[in-house]
């Protein structure tokens, strides 16, 4: 165990501890080197990889071999799957090829907005949980779906902040707040976070972690952007732990106006 992992604020997913609460994706980078640089700078310990992009059977696949040298959990994802059958098949192929049985479940039948299909996601989650996978489903910010998935035994829920790649930030804040309030498993805000401040905002709400890809991959300096997300995630987490003062409509003097009554 590294020094970082010994801290007492680790996120625990299915019994496994991670000290970093920033997860990152591997798509859209201009090169493998740029991707590796960003992952290192992000401090992420969970890195998700689209199975459709890698040749999972091929150890010299450039993405897999580049990630192989890092101290991270490679979290395969089923992006591109249009229904439960396809997602399940892909997850099993990844496991058969030697990946750990962890899967970021994405069932996104619409190839443009890549919004998750709630019905097929739940169906696939049930199968994969029974099959022994650690299942981390990507979902719309739907509190009831989050509960139904938890009932099915998933190990995190990953609601979107806004559509993938949109960089719009936390557009689904009110629903995410309910999901967090009701969650029995870690809540990872996934998709749409476009700036470190968005990550901080999600963490301040009480999210357990965030996942970022596009904003880092397409920035002019992916490593620096990744680092900024790391800082944003930590800042938001610490603010949450410290207890953020509630907002008020009116100003409140630090020295109460009625102080004289107690003099």
């Amino acid at each position: 165990m590294t020094a970082k992992q010994q801290s007492d604020d680790n996120i625990i997913i299915n019994g496994r501890e991670f000290s970093s609460r920033l997860f990152v994706g591997t798509g859209k980078f201009s090169s493998v080197q740029s991707m590796v640089g960003a992952i290192k700078a992000s401090g992420a310990e969970i890195v998700t990889v689209a199975l459709r992009r890698v040749d999972i059977d091929n150890p010299v696949d450039d993405i897999i071999s580049a990630l192989g040298g890092l101290d991270i959990l490679i979290l395969p994802n089923t992006s591109g799957a249009r229904n439960a059958d396809e997602a399940v098949r892909l997850a099993r192929l990844a496991r058969a090829a030697g990946c750990e049985p962890w899967i970021k479940l994405e069932v996104t039948p619409d190839p443009n907005y890549l919004l998750p299909d709630p019905i097929e996601t739940l169906k696939a989650a049930k199968i994969l949980v029974k099959d022994g996978f650690t299942v981390m489903p990507y979902i719309n910010a739907d509190p009831i779906l989050a509960k139904r998935l938890q009932d099915a035994g998933v190990h995190t829920v990953m609601p979107l902040g806004s559509p993938i790649g949109s960089n719009q930030g936390l557009r689904t804040k009110d629903s995410i707040r309910i999901i967090i309030e009701q969650a029995e498993v870690p809540v990872v805000v996934d998709a749409g976070l476009g700036a470190a401040s968005h990550a901080a905002q999600a963490m301040e709400l009480g999210a357990d972690a965030v996942l970022v890809n596009t904003a880092i991959a397409v920035s002019k300096n992916p490593a620096m952007m990744a680092h900024s997300f790391m800082l944003g995630t930590i800042a938001g987490r610490e603010a949450f732990l410290a207890g953020i003062p509630s907002k008020r409509e009116t100003a409140e003097a630090s020295s109460p106006l009625t102080g004289f009554l107690r003099e």
Binding site: S30, S31, R53, D55, E86, P111, N112, Y113
Partner: protein, 370 residues
């Protein structure tokens, strides 16, 4: 309903008139919008937009970066036959052309595929002329099944099939279809397609509908720039792409619009399309249809292809041979059209890396299909 029904409600001369009347203010207003209407798109392909090409390029670049990232998908065509019963005046495979006709056996086609595989290609496009007697459904099924073991993605660019035929081939492992309408100008279409089944304009027009109904994941459509008025044809292409995106929402729609190249038979393009025109089409389509795939063919010269990459392109062919057996024999005789960019996939990768793009060979997995 198919696109034919939509098409019949469109008045070509009215669209042409509208787009040619657009002025600078229309163009400026269109560029400034985050969500464009079809009418805005007409402004972007109008002559008035030519003065705003730089702004359009900047906008298109930022959209494609956000939506697709710094990646370009690479694929290669595998020509399985140049036999053809059609007479298309612009095509090297025209039935009237006295060229050596070749149809590859399954084993010959697999040998071609092996060469592409060794170049790193994992996304393959099977191409043929209208040759239903030699490029049969059982042939396509067997070839697809055998290619499926090695290639992540297999698509067809052959003569139009029925929805049932597409379903059968999809079950064998094919996930995509490309079919060019060539031109949406019905009158011109008749003049350049002199013989064969291709003369049936509407059967061809409904082909992507049949592919979509069969559940194909990738539907590609296209026009040949240089046949009819390119601006008006682009207006129809965009309409068709928008229709398919909405109706077959599970499929990824892409468009191609190569400029006509010289081919056997000495056909000359019917109208001139400049490099700037090509840039205008790419950027206008990207700004209007943010998520559409845009394919850049090897018909363009290397230097121009390199410059076009950041403007909205998502897919490129590389190392293409447009003659059946061309990879094994390393020739391009009896080709469908002249390839201008003869660089190998490795050279194209080096170019993309230099430009700051990650060349992607695999963006699909055979595991998606049983």
């Amino acid at each position: 309903m198919t696109f034919s029904d939509v098409f019949k409600t469109l008045d070509r001369s009215e669209i042409e008139e509208t787009l040619y009347k657009k002025d600078t203010n229309d163009v400026k207003s269109a560029i400034a919008k985050t969500k464009l209407t079809y009418d805005d798109f007409l402004a972007l392909i109008s002559p008035a937009a030519e003065a705003h090409i730089d702004e359009m390029a900047k906008r298109a670049n930022s959209i494609v970066k956000r939506r697709f990232g710094n990646v370009i998908n690479l694929y290669a065509p595998l020509y399985v036959s140049n036999e053809c019963t059609n007479s298309c005046v612009y095509c090297g495979f025209n039935v009237n052309n006295k060229i050596k006709r070749v149809s590859l056996t399954i084993d010959e086609a697999l040998k071609e595929a092996d060469i592409l595989y060794n170049h790193g290609i994992r996304d393959i496009l099977l191409v043929s002329g209208e040759a239903p007697k030699t490029v049969t459904i059982p042939y396509l099924k067997e070839l697809t099944q055998r290619l499926h073991r090695k290639f992540a993605s297999i698509a067809l660019e052959i003569y139009p099939l029925s929805a049932d035929d597409y379903r059968q081939i999809a079950r064998a492992g094919c996930d995509g279809l490309t079919i060019y309408q060539e031109s949406y100008d019905g009158e011109l279409y008749e003049k350049v397609h002199l013989k064969g089944r291709k003369r049936d304009f509407f059967y061809r027009l409904e082909t992507p509908d049949r592919g979509g109904a069969a559940g194909l994941r990738r539907l590609g459509i296209g026009i040949l720039m240089g046949l009819s008025d390119w601006r008006t044809d682009c207006a129809f292409l965009a309409k068709h792409a928008a229709y398919l995106t909405k109706k077959y929402w599970r499929s990824k729609i892409s468009v191609s619009f190569p400029r006509l190249r010289p081919a056997f038979g000495g056909f000359e393009p019917l109208c001139d399309v400049t490099d700037a025109n090509l840039v205008q089409v790419i950027t206008a389509l990207r700004i209007y249809l943010n998520d559409i795939g845009i394919v850049l063919s090897t018909r363009e010269k290397p230097a121009l292809r390199d410059s076009l990459v950041p403007l909205g392109i998502t897919q490129m062919s590389a190392g293409s041979k447009t003659t059946p057996g061309g990879y094994v024999t390393d020739t391009n005789s009896c080709e469908q059209f002249a390839v201008e960019d003869t660089r190998s996939p490795a050279d194209v990768c080096r170019m993309l890396s230099r430009l700051g793009y990650d060349p992607v060979f695999k963006d699909w997995d055979a595991g998606f299909i049983r």
